[in-house]
């Protein structure tokens, strides 16, 4: 692991220029979020007319946008549904995908191999291909509610998750499992006592990649449980009124509220997110 990153450069003129350049670039990436934050404290007309100005005595409306926006969008309930769906979907995806991946990696039957390729295949298929039939199947099976959608997320999330888990399982020595069996475990106890704990690094990766996807997902919750149980992305989209009119004051405040949980999540598990992105991409 003697990588390039370990060259520590002395701080010379060139180094300072580079740091300044990187400061400017990083600011470019943060500015849009800061602009939204500033504008969330302005009246809606000023958001459109003077988007790049600091709020002043005339344009400042305090937390009005937040107070009315929260009521208009039902934000607390959207937050609750987003949290519920994300937490439970991720939970069952991690658990069941790990079990499935371990089984189909260790089992050499043709069916297991076919199943593995079916999961890989599902990763390429665009959502639009299954979108319409899926809504009908979900209605028919009464999965069109916040509990039912967990099943659908498991179905979609399983593809990539099983793929990632099974890549990792291949690196776990089979002798460990055989030792567990000799010590009196059956496959179920062996899996939960010995194997699953060994999978925890990739389980964290899988959890994070799925959490980011499901928290931000718009189309599936919109089509399946739509207006009745809005998640945050669905609630934000509903701020676009008839004829495309938008109350930009509410919009700014709702975007801030939508982004804050993700940013907190990012700072809490930043290390794992970066590792997850890298590990998750190794075998795309």
């Amino acid at each position: 692991m003697s990588g390039i990153q370990q060259q520590k450069k002395p701080l010379n003129a060139g180094g300072i220029v580079l740091i300044l350049l990187l400061c400017v670039i990083s600011l470019l990436f943060i500015t849009p979020i800061l602009l939204v934050f500033l504008n969330s404290f302005k009246g809606k007309l000023y958001v459109i007319n003077t988007p790049f100005a600091f709020p002043n005595a005339e344009t400042f409306t305090g937390i009005n946008n937040y107070v009315s926006g929260i009521t208009a969008t039902g934000f607390p309930s959207a937050f609750g549904w987003s949290l519920f769906i994300t937490v439970f979907s991720v939970g069952i995806i991690v658990l069941f995908s790990a079990m499935t991946a371990w089984y189909i990696t260790r089992c050499t039957s043709l069916f297991c191999k076919v199943l593995y390729f079916a999961f890989v295949f599902a990763m390429i298929v665009p959502f639009q291909m299954v979108m319409f039939p899926l809504t009908k199947v979900a209605n028919l099976l009464h999965l069109d509610n916040p509990l039912g959608i967990l099943v659908l997320y498991l179905g979609f999330g399983a593809a990539q998750s099983v793929f990632l888990f099974s890549g990792f399982v291949k690196s776990v020595p089979i002798a460990v499992e055989e030792a567990a069996v000799i010590d009196g475990c059956n496959p179920i106890t062996a899996f939960f006592a010995v194997i699953f704990p060994m999978l925890s690094p990739i389980a964290i990766t899988v959890a994070i990649l799925n959490a980011m996807w499901i928290w931000n997902d718009f189309l599936l919750p919109n089509l399946i449980i739509g207006s009745e149980y809005r998640t945050i992305p669905v609630a934000v989209q509903y701020l676009r009124g008839g004829y495309g009119s938008i109350d930009w004051g509410y919009m700014m405040a709702m975007i801030v509220l939508a982004v804050i949980p993700i940013i907190i999540f990012y700072f809490v598990c930043q290390k794992h997110i970066i590792q997850g992105v890298t590990a998750g991409s190794v075998k795309g």
Binding site: S2, G3, I4, Q5, Q6, Q7, G15, L18, L21, L22, I25, F29, P32, I33, L35, V36, N39, P51, M99, T100, Y103, C107, L115, A122, I124, V125, P126, Q128, M129, V130, M131, F132, P133, L134, K136, V137, L141, L152, L154, G155, A158, V162, E178, P187, I188, N216, F218, L219, Q237, G244, W248, M251, M252, I255, A258, I263, V277, T278, S281, G284
Partner: protein, 280 residues
């Protein structure tokens, strides 16, 4: 172990398999069948052969969307990968504050497509208001708006993947190159790029697929306006299903063609870049 495992198939694979059947396998097969049928619900299906495919091309919407998606994908994939790679090179040189820069550049990737779309609609309209126009006045504003948005969203992610690749280039090889008198450009072309090729395969795959399948950002930023000029394929298919009664079969036919195009593009791209990877 293998034999005793058989009894536990339902326990280990059952739940995932059931969900996978419901969410993917059944809808996928139904999708193929329905692309040859006329229907509005699942009870009034009538077989129509290839007429949905013919109708998909009977107006120019679908072809325009394909063209728009394709040109957007080409432009945004080039920008994202070049900028991400350049940033990755900069951020693997041990510069002070590297971690802070990485953190900030990655951050937009956490925000969902719908929210991103509205953030950029607000900023771009803010700029354009100086000229008295909005993003939906001309398709070129929407096009470049989407390019800027996708760059802002994906550069950080691809940068992280490139950084991981560059960090795996053995230090000894770089030192040997310096001793042999290779300049920075030579080192980049002959050593770093070839050794980072697996990362390039992945980032190209992800950016091509993400750009071509883009939906949320498109819906929130322009919703296809003006007219349908900035409608990408995914949005065109959505609109065919949900804003035109009697066109469900056509939507499904478009979706199937979309699926085939995506498969062909990704297979071609993977086989080209895989060939350039060095086997260690």
């Amino acid at each position: 172990m293998e034999k005793s495992l058989k009894k536990y198939f339902l326990f280990f694979v059952g739940p995932t398999l059931l969900a996978f059947l419901i969410a993917f396998v059944i809808p996928f097969i139904a999708g193929i069948v329905l692309s040859f049928a006329r229907f509005t619900t699942m009870t009034d299906i009538s077989w129509v052969g290839f007429s949905n495919y013919v109708r998909a091309f009977s107006n120019s919407d679908f072809l325009n969307a394909l063209k728009f998606s394709a040109s957007f994908t080409i432009v945004s994939v080039i920008f994202i990968n070049v900028i991400a790679f350049a940033l990755a090179l900069l951020l693997t040189r041990g510069i002070r504050g590297t971690n802070v820069f990485r953190t900030m550049i990655f951050m937009p990737n956490l925000i969902g497509g719908i929210v991103l779309g509205y953030i950029w609609q607000f900023i771009i309209n803010g700029f354009l208001s100086v000229f008295g126009v909005t993003i939906t006045v001309d398709a070129k504003y929407g096009f470049w708006g989407l390019v800027i948005l996708s760059n802002w969203q994906f550069i950080g992610y691809m940068m992280i993947i490139f950084i991981a690749g560059i960090q795996n280039v053995p230090q000894e090889i770089l030192e040997a190159a310096t001793i042999d008198g290779a300049g920075p450009i030579m080192t980049l072309r002959k050593i770093i790029v070839p050794l980072v090729m697996p990362s390039i395969t992945i980032t190209l795959f992800m950016t091509v697929a993400n750009s071509f399948k883009m939906f949320d950002q498109n819906l929130a930023l322009t919703a296809g306006a003006p007219g349908k000029e900035t409608t990408m394929v995914a949005l065109d298919i959505y609109n065919t299903f949900y804003s035109r009664v009697g066109w469900e079969g056509v939507g499904q036919a478009k979706a199937l063609m979309f699926f085939l195009v995506v498969v062909v593009i990704t297979l071609v791209q993977l086989s080209i870049t895989r060939r350039k990877e060095i086997v260690n």
